[in-house]
Amino acid sequence: MLEIRDVYARVDEKEILKGISLTINPGEIHAIMGPNGSGKSTLAKVIAGHPAFSVTSGDIVFEGQSILEDDPEDRARKGLFLAFQYPIEVPGVNNANFLRMAYNAKRAYEGKDELDPLEFQDLLDEKLKLVEMDPSFTDRAVNAGFSGGEKKKNEILQMAVLEPKVSILDEIDSGLDIDALREVANGVNKLMSPEKAVVMVTHYQRLLNYIQPDYVHVLSEGRIIKSGGKELALQLEERGYDWVIAQQAAEV
């Protein structure tokens, strides 16, 4: 469904991704782990089309078509979603209106009629229940004054409304206490289905206790140096990243 083919990417003059390849099929949950500065967040942003990063070689193919030339909004409407590590505060913009605009942008892309505020409210109520979120969040400005946990939940609410095919969750666990983590993870699990895929970027094994990955990849210095099943995450938790990095260096 999503294929990353030997992607090199840079920000300003600095090369951060140095040949990443990854294939994500429907129904799969992938975890991307790695030390700080390995390029995990860059990979997430490059897939979403962040304008600060340029892909210098390779390709990103979504459902058989290259999306490299697509603007972020086109990628979103095709079914890609990035949950931000640091969700952006947008004061002055009502959360419910924002969700409706995003939802209607996708409806318009699919050639469907837009929902008016009342129709959308019904849908929103249902999604709020699904992700166990207090309806009062939708009356506030987008993320403005939200706590860390509230911001992450708001990302999951957006994911629930937009029903993306592939969701990339960039450190969705950072800054969450254990209860908030469980709630956010529950939301993701409920939204997962055999037609969809999830890519989680994380530092810690902890998240993977709540959302079980099918594959774990270790990123270091802009490359995937090891891939494996969920047991790899446990090994990493036990032995740290140095072990994998040393093993990879020995192979080269």
């Binding site: 962040h50 603007d71 909004e73």
Partner: protein, 453 residues
Amino acid sequence: MLTMVRTQEAKTPFEQAVQEQWRTQSSVLQPAWVASRRIGGWTRLEALGLPSRALEAWRYVNLEPVSRHGFVPLPEPASLDVLDPVISALTLPEAAAKLVFVNGIFQPTLSDTTRLPEGVLAGSLFDVAAQLPQPIESYFAADIEAEADAFVALNTALFSEGYAVYVPQGVKLDTPLEVLFLTDAQGTSPQGAHVRGVVIAEPHSQVTIMARFASAGAASATPTLTTAVTELVAQPGALLNYVHVQTEADTAAHMAATKTWVHGDARLHVSTLAFGSRFSRHYVHSAMVSEEACCELNGLAILQGETHVFDHTVIDHQKPHGGSQQLYKGILAQRSRADFDGTIVIAPHAQKSDASQLHQTLLLSDEARVLTRPQLRIDADDVKCAHGASVGQLSEDQLFYLTSRGLPFSQAQAVLTAGFADEIVEAIPCEALKAPLIDLVHSRLEALLTANA
């Protein structure tokens, strides 16, 4: 012989026309109570001269859109029927009263004051003053001898007509009173009008006035001038809410001054929405004359093309325990420009005054310019004063966030600029005005973003 401004230099076409208008009208000054104020205005204008760049507040202001034209009085409107649809589009059906002026002249047939509660008077200045000489006559241009602003003096000498609103003690109006000043220029020579407003809110009354300044033919290339002086008196415990909406044509010059007197426990709101005009100035002077007077001055400028807005405020805290808040915002595209000059004065005995001032600008083009000059003059030692300014562009992070959710880039821009602008409309304490003004703001933003794309 008139000695107005720079006698040794050649007079500008503007000055020549102003003198000519004074000469022709000064033989027919009436009624008497107005005549004395007119003469006072002319005397002050002669003493002050038109503002030059030697004055601190005007140092960076290019007055040429005003000074290079000899504006003659706007003619009688050709046909009021033609203006009917224009006027309906510019006024709210649910207003408590509607006062319409075309080319500086009151139009009773286009106005409606039949729904006003008993005791409330609203109409042409001369009519209301005839019905209720006091307090109108004692407030109207009462301090003209000490006037510091040349355009207020000029307007007092030359105004054609105006409106007056009187709200008796304890009467609270929920719906706004609406005043429309429409400019319908004929031909291509420069023409203008000088208009007035007086609002007296008696103790514990509550009233909202929306004055709207618009051009009938937005595509007209005729240079026009409107000067407008509005006097607002909020007596003890009153809530006086004044909204000044300026949507004149790109060829217009708009010189407005709002002078206010805020008494104890009274609350005054002045909101300025400036969306048009080649050059537009709104000078707001707030005299906080008793203890615990509060005022809030807000402004929103949405500018494109070569338009230039100058918000000029003076808040004079004369007594203790007063509060004032100012929030002025600008969204500037193309080659537009916004100036903000705001002075807060706190008198020696005006202890415990609490004043804040903020000017925020969103620049949407490299050629747009903003100048912000906060000034504090504090002679008391136990006060709270804050001022600040910010100038920025739309945030890349916010744009990416919104587009990553599927919003088209243009919609993301529109949402962010609207989010920035709406705060000013949301702060207006009149529910009935919010929806129509939000619509107006959003349609202006849409036009601006389209032009700027």
